[in-house]
Structure formats: structure tokens, C-alpha cells
Symmetry: C2
Subunit: 244 residues, 2 copies
DNA sequence: AGGATCCTTCGGTGCTCGCCGAAGTGTCGT
DNA sequence: ACGACACTTCGGCGAGCACCGAAGGATCCT
């Protein structure tokens, strides 16, 4: 195990980046950022290519280690390989130029607004909601950004009040910052971000909107966020009124 | 400035990743990870392409925001746009598959060994040396990894003893972890990592080996590392004897 | 068994993109 | 002014690759 003897000429950065350098494959990965497993056909339809084309791309992504797959009967389920790959896709996406195109339909416009308002990002909350929670936690002294994001002692207590146990010290950083696409401000990621998101879903603060990544804040969630973080509706959805 | 009205269909991940999906451009970025500014011709020769080809690639990388450039007379100096882009390239490189190829010459083999031993990575120290420093700091309680890497109070004192002022709280995280290509273990990055690297170069702990990223530990550095971190030669270069 | 669905394999097509060399522009040194 | 050098522009070539449709498994449902 002497890595000095392996004549490492350097990582094959180009081959790896090429995995994401195709519109179809990038679309797959962005879709998979919702953290769930998709079937091949779902992904194919999502980006509008033939099933055979999707198969080829999925083979590449799995072979490249970006995606993990499980086969169940006639279904091929794929998901992002892990939190680190998700973080990589996030980071790349945050730095990539935005494509600003007019929505193709009213339905698409509504979906876009819902996504901007609140969505899951791999396994944590993003959008205006995710950013608002993060900033409220900072304002209340639950997060400390002096040395990068860190949960304070009060933050640990606060988590406990919600019934969330502080995540065990595994390899995954407890608190990570993830730059939001729509808000261009950071929201909370990492193990704690995931725990909060799970709690929000389990306790019906938010519910999934259809089958995508969009979530919608419930009345329960609105009350809990006000009580626990002092968040008003205005602070979460400035100038908007959340629909059913 | 209501970002919800801009119909953001999502980041153009593919276009951005395509910047790094070419062997020549990836070679440029990996070379620029040494944190210095290179001229177009230097980069062209480094990867072995014509000057005209290099120009085209540099145009793309600059337009894409990955590289920044300054023109001085007949020279075009390019460098990575900033620490965040450097972090992105690092992260991608760490996750990319290694290309293990036999070195083309004795000279190349020596260069590879020198790089594995100690090198700069953008603006901090990497290789066996960088990893050894990071692990020694952890062992001495200067770094705390419980909530992601963080400098402890003793760490701040230790920096002071070296004559390094704790970096101001700018946007850049003071301490960041960067996965080492050759060691596959994390080394210290971020503002503190950069400060330590600068100190190591200023105080002649290490000196640049030629014009590349490789550095070599001096006798001064060897003594200082032993006195300040308890690092023995064995711990820095297991099974090797550093040459002049 | 039969049909529907999900996935895969296999040619074939068309286009993008990286590369070079030659010629041209601007800058530096003498 | 002149050559040397760094860089840029342009035309053309060749390879790689993303795409599709058709055909062939594999699996589930009735």
C-alpha cells in the first residue's frame, strides 16, 4: 500500500467531467438531486430522449461512479451514489451559468414558482424556505458562521426541542453550506440539514407536491416555524400567498 | 430584484462541466492549481498543443468564469478565478478516477515522486507533507474534526507562536478539508491552510523545485516541524530520504 | 398463454469539437 | 527600423459521440 510507487499521473479530470458535460446526463443528475431513486424510463421521459439513449447514458454514469443502481424485477432504479456526489453536482450547478428561458406553458411556470419557493435538494431543504430557515437559525444564534457553518450549543438544544437527536459523528460533516440556485444565498445541508428536512416531512411541516422535488409549506409547518424560529409568512414567501 | 420572476429553468450544468471535459482544458486547470499565473504558451507547452489551440481553450475557460486573465504587454497571464473555483477543480479531481500509467522517463518518475512527497495545491500544502502536517495538528489538538474541520483555541495559539495572525473572517472559510490525490487522505486548505503554506515558503521550510508545483522540505523545515509538531522524518517521508 | 411494460443491444446517421498550420496583429528588445 | 516573440484568427480535416428506431430479452399482470 505504498501509493508513491503507483505512478499517478494525475486524476483523469476530463473523463470525469465529461460525464456531466452532456445535456441529457446533466439533466439526469439534476433530477436525481431530489435524493430519490428514479427508473430509467422516468428519467428518459423527464429529459425527452428515447429509452435506448437513456440506457447508454445511465451505463456511463454508473460506470463512472456518479450513480448507484439497484435492479428490481424489470425496473432499473438509479440514484446519486452518495452525499459527496450530490455535493459535487450541487457545487457545480451553483457555479454554472443560469439558463433563463421563458417557461413553455402555464403549468411549467407554476411548477417553476413552486420549486423556487420550496424544494428538496438531495436530502435537505432548499429554495426560499430553505434559505429562510437557515437565516433564521443564524439570527437566533443556532448557527455560527465565523469558522464556516457550525451548530452552536444553543443549536443543539434547539434540535432537541424539536425531537431531533444530533447526528452521530460519521464521515459526513454535520453542517454544510449549499449555495441555493434560485436564491443565490446559502442554505443548510449536511447531516443536520438532512435531519431537519426529514423532520419537516415526517411532521407534516411540508408535503411533497406531486412526484417532483417541489414541496409546499402546510399550516402546521407555518405555525411551527413561527413558534420555533420566529418566521413570519412574509419572511418565507415575500409577496406571495402559498396555494393549496 | 425578485429572483422568482426570472424563469430559471436550472443551471446549465452541462455547459459548465464541458469546460473541464476536455483533456487539454483539464490539463490547464490542473496546472493552474499551483495558484500561480501562467502564460498561454507555458500552458500550451505543458500539455503539448499548438499555441492557437491554447488560445481557443483559454477563451472558453475565461468566458466560462473558471479562469481570470490579465494582459501585460505581449503576455496573457491566466490563473484560476478564485479559491472557490480552485476548490471545485480539487473536488472534481479527488473524485475522478486515477490514471495509472508507467512514467515515460526517469525524469518523469522523479518528478512524480517529488510531487507525491510535497507540493502546493492552489495556495496550500499537499502531498505526504501536507497530510502529515494536518494529521499532526489533529493529534496535538490544534484541529477539531467533530463538526467538520475547525481550528481550536490551542490551534490559534499555535499559529501565533509561528508568527501567523489568524486570518480575518472574510467569505473564505478559515479551515477547509481538501482530499489529497496521492494520499487519499485530507489535508488542510482554506485561509489557514494558505497562511501556513505562505509561512512555510517565506520561512524557507520548503523551497520550490523548478517551476512546477513540487516543493522540497529543507533542513530548516525539518527542524521546525519537529519542534512545533513533533514530526519526525519518518512520519513525513516514510521509507524515503529526501534528496537535495 | 398472451399481452403489456421496462429495459437492452445494435447498426446507422449527423453533427459537434478539438486539432493543426498558415497568415496576421501587437509588443518588446536592439 | 528590424527581427524575435506572444498571441490571435481562420479554414479545413478527422474523430468521437449523442441520437434514434428496430429488434430482442426479461419481467409482470390477467
Amino acid at each position: 500500500m505504498n501509493s508513491h510507487d503507483a505512478h499517478v499521473t494525475g486524476p483523469d479530470l476530463a473523463a470525469f467531467a465529461a460525464l456531466l458535460a452532456d445535456g441529457t446526463r446533466a439533466g439526469f443528475c439534476l433530477a436525481l438531486l431530489d435524493g430519490r431513486a428514479w427508473t430509467a424510463i422516468e428519467l428518459a421521459r423527464h429529459v425527452g430522449v428515447a429509452a435506448s439513449t437513456a440506457t447508454e447514458h445511465l451505463n456511463l454514469l454508473v460506470a463512472g461512479g456518479l450513480l448507484a443502481q439497484e435492479r428490481q424485477g424489470r425496473h432499473r432504479y438509479v440514484r446519486l451514489a452518495g452525499p459527496d456526489t450530490a455535493a459535487l453536482v450541487e457545487g457545480l450547478a451553483a457555479m454554472a451559468p443560469r439558463t433563463v428561458a421563458p417557461p413553455r406553458s402555464l403549468r411549467a411556470a407554476n411548477r417553476g414558482r413552486a420549486l423556487a419557493r420550496a424544494r428538496t435538494c438531495y436530502d435537505h431543504l432548499a429554495g426560499a424556505l430553505g434559505v429562510a430557515i437557515t437565516e433564521a437559525m443564524t439570527a437566533r444564534g443556532l448557527l455560527d458562521w465565523a469558522h464556516g457553518p457550525r451548530l452552536t450549543g444553543r443549536g443543539v438544544v434547539w434540535l432537541g426541542e424539536l425531537g431531533i437527536a444530533p447526528p452521530p459523528a460519521t464521515g459526513r460533516p454535520p453542517v454544510r453550506s449549499c449555495l441555493d440556485w434560485t436564491e443565490r444565498r446559502p442554505h443548510l445541508a449536511g447531516a443536520v440539514g438532512a435531519a431537519i428536512c426529514r423532520h419537516a416531512l415526517d411532521s407534516d411541516w411540508v408535503t411533497r407536491l406531486g412526484t417532483g422535488r417541489a414541496v409546499v409549506l402546510t399550516d402546521i409547518g407555518r405555525r411551527e416555524l413561527r413558534d420555533h424560529l420566529g418566521l413570519s409568512d412574509e419572511m418565507i414567501c415575500p409577496g406571495e400567498r402559498a396555494g393549496g
